[in-house]
Symmetry: C2
């Protein structure tokens, strides 16, 4: 089967955004606060809203999307911590409902109610609820809840340890994913996302986090930002810093996705990153929505690029499309097995 491990719910019913607007308007004028958290979104509306994703799954040949709330919608820097708690819960609940309605097409990943400067412990109850109660298979972790100003300590700092302990206990990986940018110098999908990936990787390279958490797993999205393109630079920096080789130092715990929207990028990635560290996604209905005039296909139809990489063996290909996802997301593997879809032994 083909597992797409990075899809966001970017086709939400209008009622969700209307609620969000009321919620934020309520910060300025309490009269505008939403009266209820009942959005009035029916199952039919949810099913209707993900028809574009289902069509793309069919057209492009993927089976299941690991699905989380809109990345830019997390907006951890917006409003108050209380507002963020309500917003996270509501956003996650919609994901849960969709994945319950369409369990063969979607598996749930959640957002956390992170807030700039707030202790990460405040995100633990929602993480536990998502995984232990609702069966989520992973979580998005934002290394910069300040939204483009990078005011949090690096991911290797003890500030983050409580969430790592809980992740390891619950057996869920995190995708390291920033949200929108409130920094006018830094465009979200064109700069902040890729910078977030690059910055997180370098933080991990500088530290020794996986000595403390050998079972912790991170997925760095968007092909790892600038990292594979500069793989020689990172190998060289690690060497200058007297770190172990990257395979030993980071690659047991750090994985990259294939959200790179042209063939030469995926080709490079397959050359420098071991196939066991590459997971397939498209982030479809994400940052780039158009059709590439040079190919006639959607920019984010990334399966086509992976299919074109001749150097991959069958085992590599199985890993990228399915096996690695089952390994990095063990709860996804169990969820699929419970539905009669076991991976290769």
């Amino acid at each position: 089967m083909i597992i797409d491990i990075h899809g966001h719910y970017t086709t939400e019913p209008q009622a969700l955004q209307a609620f969000r607007d009321k919620q934020l308007a309520g910060l300025a004028d309490a009269m505008r606060k939403p009266a209820s958290t009942d959005l009035g979104i029916t199952d039919e509306m949810l099913l209707k809203s993900v028809e574009p994703q289902l069509k793309f799954q069919k057209d492009r040949g993927s089976d299941l999307t690991v699905f989380s709330p809109r990345a830019a919608g997390m907006a951890h820097h917006v409003g108050t911590e209380e507002v963020g708690q309500v917003w996270s819960r509501m956003s996650n609940d919609l994901i849960h409902r969709i994945c319950t309605l369409l369990p063969d097409n979607f598996a749930p990943v959640g957002q956390l109610p992170q807030f700039p400067g707030a202790p990460i412990e405040r995100s633990l109850p929602e993480l536990t609820r998502l995984v232990a109660e609702l069966g989520f298979v992973g979580v998005n972790l934002n290394p910069d809840p300040s939204g483009g100003y990078w005011k949090s300590p690096p991911l290797t700092d003890r500030y983050w340890y409580p969430i790592y302990e809980k992740m390891v206990e619950l057996e869920v990986p995190a995708m390291i994913h920033v949200t929108s940018s409130c920094n006018p110098a830094v465009h979200h999908t064109g700069a902040h996302y890729l910078n977030g990936d690059t910055t997180a990787f370098m933080q991990l390279l500088q530290g020794n986090l996986f000595k403390d958490f050998p079972d912790l797993k991170f997925v760095i999205p968007h092909g790892g930002g600038a990292v594979p393109f500069h793989w020689g630079r990172y190998r060289g920096l690690a060497q200058d810093m007297k770190k172990p080789l990257l395979g030993e130092h980071l690659l047991k715990n750090v994985f990259f996705d294939t959200c790179v929207y042209h063939y030469p990028g995926i080709e490079l990635m397959a050359k420098v990153i071991p196939a066991g560290n590459i997971l397939f996604p498209s982030e479809m209905l994400g940052a780039v929505k158009g059709i590439d005039p040079e190919t006639g296909f959607h920019f984010d139809d990334t399966k086509r690029y992976v299919d074109q990489v001749k150097a991959l063996s069958d085992a590599d290909r199985y890993g990228i499309f399915e096996g690695n996802a089952r390994r990095v997301y063990p709860r996804l593997d169990r969820r699929l097995a419970a539905r009669g879809k076991k991976g290769r032994p």
Copy 2:
């Protein structure tokens, strides 16, 4: 000839750093201020200090390095604006002396006395002095003088226009180059430099700066950060934003260098970026100093990577190694011609 357009003076005599320490110590205790700006650095000391660069030029087969002060040394966010003015002038004067002593090996590029929040106009006198009085051929422009917090407006903002007007008048390009990071989340050479390149490119993509400045030229270093690896993403974002094709929108004015420290990166770059937009440098004695155990050669011996790209024509190769530099840095071309080294017609 082989022109390396990106070298920083990372082998400065100890006296320069000692002055800097006194200068910064003087902020805390006026008693520690340096007594004089005379560093006591003789011509012999300068010649001795660049022997490593000369050796690498010879060993690796480049002829001339476009040479500027240490990038991380600019540190625009440190101290006061007055301290930065003195520091910039002093750093640039050393570059001038080296390039005067060894005019066949080095051509000068300067740093600007930018300061967070200060009007860019305060950098104009130094720019004019460098180019009109001292024969500098270009300048480094820092899009984030806050050192990793991105507090300046984007490069397309009118804040920057006075420096662009002067650059166009003086016929010098800018390399868009951040300096050190004072943000503990953002490592300088492993994250901030690449993020700076990516962010600057996206700022330019979002705007229409070159409509106002058709003759303005920027070099984005370190292979353009994440940009070539995500070239499809940028083509797609430009299309979604109803911008012209990138060739029309940006590539008459924006150029990338080859500071990418492994062959697969340079190979990708040559596939997606037109050869006319690629300039050769190594940034030798820069971010990565070691020998790649996979090749037995220095990571930053980038000429080897370019030499290996079979798809480049002779004309492409001439452009990357010499012709494009002469075009982007017209004062370099004239400087070379005055020394009897004309480019191809």
